[in-house]
């Protein structure tokens, strides 16, 4: 029950003033500007764009600055801004095969057309704090080498040719945009993928990890992981001409999962798919694993009653803005609610006492 109560206005205003001051920090230290954030904290910026579901680096950097680096708060700001934007339209489906790759690896095949390219990765670093970064501005320059500018084919397309892996064929089912329509379970895979792509990285990581540890038989290989820029094509309504309206960085993961076969399908490999804005490979891999575990029905697998198989559980809880909104609202005044509970407990205790005296 909510009853409006007046008061606290001055306290709130003063709290906001202090928030503003503490956000600035020590004034003897130079203020962060948005470009510094978008250029130097790129992976935070990517995460806020991905989970904020809006690709705009400057806005993401602004949100990070405004939220004092609290990324969920920053994602909240992005989502709120996103809702104010008129929707101009929908792009053509992107072609990740034409990606301008910064990174492209496969954990399933060593020798692949287009080769393994590590890109700017933390993998193989020793995870030791680098005290050189405490000092000023030294950095190594990237090395360059001559290249062939050829399209890099998807690794799983080779398995496809042998029929060893399940094919991804359009179902023809129409999917709703979950940001425009309330979701109704069961969902289409497209609706699940949209939710996962904007879902919380930590939540998806935990669920994906649970599938690896045995909660859903789902041993996954990373068939391919690629990060790079993709041209987004959009038809200009006035002209009927399709143009490259935006260049967007994506990370894509295709997982390969062993599958012993079922009544419906002979033994073959199956797939999970992850596609997210930015260079967020932990999230792309997590997404692929969770996508796969939720496809049990499609492949005629057994339902083991685990969280990662339960689309209603996963999709209802993977959105960190919904989650934090409901969670954090309980710190707001619930005085009347609680008063009612207090009265109830007192009444029950009185009755208990009376009964005790009687016996």
């Amino acid at each position: 029950m909510y009853v409006s109560v007046k008061g606290g206005e001055k306290a709130i205003n003063n709290a906001h003033s202090w928030l503003s001051e503490i956000r600035r920090g020590d004034v003897n230290i130079a203020e962060l500007n948005i470009k510094q954030i978008s250029e130097q904290l790129t992976l935070s910026v990517d995460r806020v764009m991905s989970e904020g579901s809006l690709y705009d680096k400057d806005l993401s950097a602004l949100a990070i600055k405004q939220s004092r680096g609290d990324l969920i708060e920053a994602i909240f700001l992005m989502r709120a801004y996103r809702t104010t934007l008129p929707r101009i339209g929908s792009s053509k489906p992107i072609e990740t095969g034409k990606m301008l790759c910064l990174r492209r690896i496969s954990a399933t095949f060593k020798d692949i057309p287009g080769k393994q390219k590590l890109g700017p990765t933390f993998d193989y670093t020793h995870r030791l704090l680098d005290f050189k970064l405490l000092a000023d501005g030294e950095y190594e320059k990237a090395k360059i080498e001559k290249y062939d500018d050829k399209e890099i084919p998807h690794v799983l397309s080779f398995l496809n040719k042998e029929g060893l892996i399940q094919k991804e064929i359009p179902s023809g089912k129409t999917s709703k945009d979950i940001t425009r329509n309330p979701i109704n379970f069961p969902l289409t895979r497209s609706e699940r993928l949209q939710s996962l792509s904007r879902g919380d990285e930590g939540f998806l990581l935990g669920l994906a990890y649970s599938t690896q540890r045995g909660y859903a038989r789902n041993h996954a290989f990373v068939g391919e992981l690629r990060t790079g820029y993709v041209e987004v094509q959009f038809e200009i309504p006035e002209l009927g001409i399709e143009i490259n309206i935006a260049d967007v960085m994506f990370t894509e993961c295709e997982s390969v999962n062993q599958f012993k076969g079922s009544k419906k399908i002979p033994a073959q490999f199956t797939r999970g798919y992850g596609l997210v804005f930015g260079q967020l490979e932990r999230k792309a891999i997590s997404m692929a694993l969770v996508d796969r575990s939720m496809r049990w029905k499609e492949f005629g697998e057994e339902y083991l009653g685990v969280a990662a198989q339960d689309e209603e559980f996963v999709i209802s809880h993977c959105d960190n803005i919904q989650a934090t909104g409901f969670l954090e609202h309980i710190k707001l005044p619930h005085y009347v609610d609680f008063q009612a509970e207090l009265d109830l407990v007192r009444k029950i205790r009185e009755e208990y006492k009376k009964n005790e005296q009687r016996t």
């Binding site: 764009m49 579901s53 809006l54 690709y55 705009d56 400057d58 996103r82 934007l85 008129p86 929707r87 101009i88 339209g89 929908s90 792009s91 053509k92 489906p93 992107i94 990740t96 095969g97 301008l100 910064l102 990174r103 492209r104 060593k110 020798d111 080769k115 390219k117 590590l118 890109g119 990237a142 090395k143 360059i144 080498e145 290249y147 500018d149 991804e168 359009p170 179902s171 999917s175 945009d177 895979r189 497209s190 792509s197 041209e231 987004v232 959009f234 200009i236 006035e238 002209l239 001409i241 143009i243 490259n244 309206i245 935006a246 894509e252 295709e254 798919y273 596609l275 997210v276 804005f277």
Partner: protein, 147 residues
């Protein structure tokens, strides 16, 4: 005017680095008379992916877009659909689109479109050459028993 070439210049204008495009335009110092058909507005386009590369379409998320339309006279219209939230960039794109349909075409092509193409190609080459340098060359160690 062929759609193919218009598609090309609109694409380079849309994805241009905004500061670079603005500096190219401002350097031209052109005074162009125009009327708004649609003043610059900020919106979004929903980006679609494909499940498992070849399956069903799905919505990945939105990207910010600014658009405007203007006319130089009754016949010639320019449309400025650009990535990001810069209204001036959108207006420049619309003006360039319009001027590419006039006798000023060569000036715009030489001083703006060609430079945007070069800029983007350079960026692409930079990424490709850095990525190439991180290519893994596998080799197998020779084992003793083969001697």
């Amino acid at each position: 005017m062929k759609n193919e070439s218009r598609k090309q210049w609109l694409s380079y204008l849309s994805t241009a680095d905004e500061n670079y495009l603005i500096s190219l335009w401002d350097n031209l110092n052109m005074k162009i008379e125009y009327n708004w058909l649609r003043e610059p507005e900020i919106g979004s386009v929903m980006v679609q992916g494909k499940a498992g590369v070849t399956g069903d379409n799905f919505n990945v998320g939105e990207v910010t877009i600014t658009r405007c339309s203007l006319s130089l006279d009754k016949k010639i219209q320019g449309h400025g659909y650009v990535q990001g939230r810069n209204k001036y960039k959108s207006k420049i794109a619309a003006l360039c689109d319009a001027l590419m349909q006039t006798e000023k075409k060569e000036i715009i092509k030489r001083n703006i479109i060609d430079k945007l193409i070069k800029y983007k190609n350079n960026k692409r080459n930079e990424i490709l050459s850095k990525t190439e340098a991180t290519k893994v060359d596998f080799f197998t160690l020779v084992r003793g028993e083969d001697k």
